[in-house]
Amino acid sequence: MVLELQKPRPVWQIMFSTHHTDVGYLYTVTSLAFLFMAGVLAMIIRTHLFFPGEGVLISDSVTSNRIFTVHGSTMLFLFALPFAAGIGNYLVPIMVRYKDMAYPKLNAVAFWMVPVGGALVWLGFSDTTWVAYAPYSIIRAPGPAADMWIFGMKILGISSILSSINFIVTILKCKHPDLPLRRVPLFAWSMLTVSLMTVVAMPTFAAALVMMLTDRLGVSGFFNPAMGGDPIAYLHLFWFTFHPEVYIFLLPAIGMMYEIIPRFSRKPLFSQGSGVFAFVMLGLIGFASWGHHMFSTGMDFTTKTVFMIGTLAAVPASGMHVFNFLATMWGARIRFDAPMKFMVGGIALFFSAGAGGVLNTAMPLDFITHGTYWVVGHMHLFLTGTIAFGFVGMMYYIFPLFTGRMYSEKWASVQFILMMWGTVQVFFTQHILGLEGMARRIYDYPTDFTSWTQLNQIATVGAWILGASFVIFLAQLIYYSAKGKEANMVDPFNLGGKYYYPYQAKTPHHTGY
């Protein structure tokens, strides 16, 4: 393992390494950097919405539009995807008992596309929103920002396809011959599922991006009604990639829960089989529900019904995961160290986010919630409440492995309480704001409705609490990686039994090029 800080190596040796632990480390650190950058944008948006009126903090609406576009694109493509890939890089080869990823150089290439794509997105600072609906993104969005966003997304998409190919080959072809596929740990199963999904889903978006670019250049008119195109075609292409992508963001976090919950429950997992089954089911059903993002575009009744059924069908499989977690914890001697706290919090919020999702897809209710702050609250409850909780918990769990040191349990608890509190306050309130009719992606809201002002202020205070929890997180990561107590590498969490991961594995065996 790396143990960077115990055996210092020059930073370029890590940067140019192709070893899976080094690439995983780079992925993780980069994604966390983007998390904090996009988090600052979120704080700006929420603080701006504290008071109704223009120019409270953000001077004009175009800046506001650019800020929420980059916030969304960054959190999804530069935090959620690379973080999962980072932990996957670290753990998957160990879990399938192989010396490295199948294609180490491809792995490093896939990683180095991330900062490049990120630079394009951030330097462009586009205002298309992260969904970039045509025809706004084609005929109105100012360039070169929108073009840089397109190229940035293109590069990030290729990067995720490359890393997915790598995971698929590593897990299916390079696993130890004594290890049957059904016995592969569930985190590796989650990475396998999302990698297969990426390979199927992502090319559609890649095609849509090229079409959008040529449309912007004026040489084609796929999505431009003035040239005979259809904007709805873009929506189909986009959501065919991005509804499955929701599961691609989610499943690694679920996989991390499978990794941590049995360990801290000090009890075997309730059922490996149903975990595998639920992953595969979600991987398939994820492709049957993209149309629920488009109910209000004039979709006919039958199509809406089909997509509603497709969406509801994903719920039992998600429920199986929750059941598996609860059954594992049932009657166990649970240790609530930081990783376990975050996982349990994540399950609770996953359940509430999932319940909200059922309401969204029920056709008549969709017309109340769609395009309002309800949806903002709903998807953030998934992304913060489930995915970020899983990722932060994983980060604490893997911290001794990364650094050879322990974080502070006390500060981790403070962070957990603030993060749980902030998440509930900001995103539950946003659900209510949506029911009151407040549209999403707005720069300012009218003062006619006092409840909007009050609810926005409650949500903003919640966002500050959430922001404070992440400041603590960042401070912990920096301070304790240098000054933390040295971890007991055999069993850092005192769970009894060994720390599962062969921390004593040698230094990367090929640090070269």
Partner: protein
Amino acid sequence: MGHDTSEWVFVGIVIAILIYVGVDSWNIEKLLEDIPADAETIKVTGQQWFWSFEHADGTKEISTLHLVKGHAYKFEIYAKDVMHSFNIPDWVVFQDAVPGRINYVWFSPDQTGEFPIQCREYCGLLHYNMRGSLVVEDGKS
């Protein structure tokens, strides 16, 4: 593995709830989509960044729409430039305005008063300010 019964009972309960939600929303949506034959057609056009309306008798209005209580109205929704979304939150009237397409939605106000109209699909610079109002009046006046 094993321990199957409790898990299947749990999944069964979840599926039962989902079937209830699905069937109920199918029924309600069917009712909602059934546009009454006597509904008066109103053309709604969304463009950056205001709404304009045209009544069946040719009267045109911008931003403020005057309707009469107790009548059914069918909105024919057009967009001139980019996607918008026509929305009267208080009456759950919500349908995208897509350039190159015509979408329909109907409602029948049974209460007088003034209600906000807004755009609910991001449409650029002044999206936040693409507002209007609906005034529902008593038929007699």
